[in-house]
């Protein structure tokens, strides 16, 4: 079964989970043999930006040691053979240039998404 995962909501619990839970579960399912593709849309296109960072975080004397590294986590999906696509218009709207992104991504036009969905057995919109 081929699944297209559209990730649109960004930075959901990334500090508490030290990653994005959707990216994480796709990693985990890929390890179990799942056939996943990912489409980054909306604010989630920022997940592919290499220069993002997380400032140190402390509550009282409890320091948060591991910042989420979203670009690395998405690059990890690419390295595992997951087709990771990005909606070009969502980048343009946010002033993000393609050269700011990790490698190995596929740019898609918004208008091409509906037809692309037809190539998958299921579409999961996160």
């Amino acid at each position: 079964m081929k699944v297209l995962n559209i990730i649109e909501i960004a930075y959901r619990a990334t500090l508490e989970e030290q990653d994005d839970p959707v990216v994480w579960i796709i990693h985990a399912m890929k390890g179990a043999g799942a056939d996943h593709s990912v489409l980054l849309s909306g604010n989630a296109v920022n997940y592919a930006v290499t220069a993002q960072g997380v400032p140190p975080l402390m509550f009282g004397d409890r320091a948060q040691k591991h910042a989420p590294r979203l670009a690395e986590q998405v690059a990890g999906l690419v390295a595992k053979g997951v087709d990771v696509m990005v909606v070009r218009e969502c980048l343009t709207e946010r002033g993000i240039r393609e050269e700011e992104l990790i490698g190995g991504l596929t740019m898609v036009k918004q208008a091409a998404v509906p037809k692309m969905m037809g190539g998958f057995d299921q579409v999961w919109h996160w």
């Binding site: 619990a13 500090l15 508490e16 030290q18 990653d19 994480w24 009282g60 040691k65």
Partner: protein
Amino acid sequence: MADKKTLTFLLMDAPFENARTTTALRLIDIAARRGYDINVFAYEGAVYLPLAAQAKHANAVHGTDAAEEDHPLPREWVEAVMQEAARNGGKLDWVNCGLCVDERGATESVAGVRRGSPADFWKMASTSDNVLVIPTR
């Protein structure tokens, strides 16, 4: 402290699902560092924030064991801001909505958390310099 403030926060989101809880606790942390008196009314899923049973785990996707992963636990953050408030001459009164606790079975919380009702929230709000409600969206 002449300018000591009392602030009340209502939190509604469960942990590990969005960034609102982290943001709220960052604000509470700032107030604690200033020695303010802080009230928190945890409503609905937020009663899970100080749940005593939260546990660290290994993470196969990250390739880490439990110690290396050192997974954040909101109960530790709650304890840390309580301690920070006390260190600076303030206090943090954390009230879990009792009915919300019952319907979820979230009965075991870290020390310092007490059970209450919307009447407690109203009392907190009525006696505070300001109130910030951070609801589920």
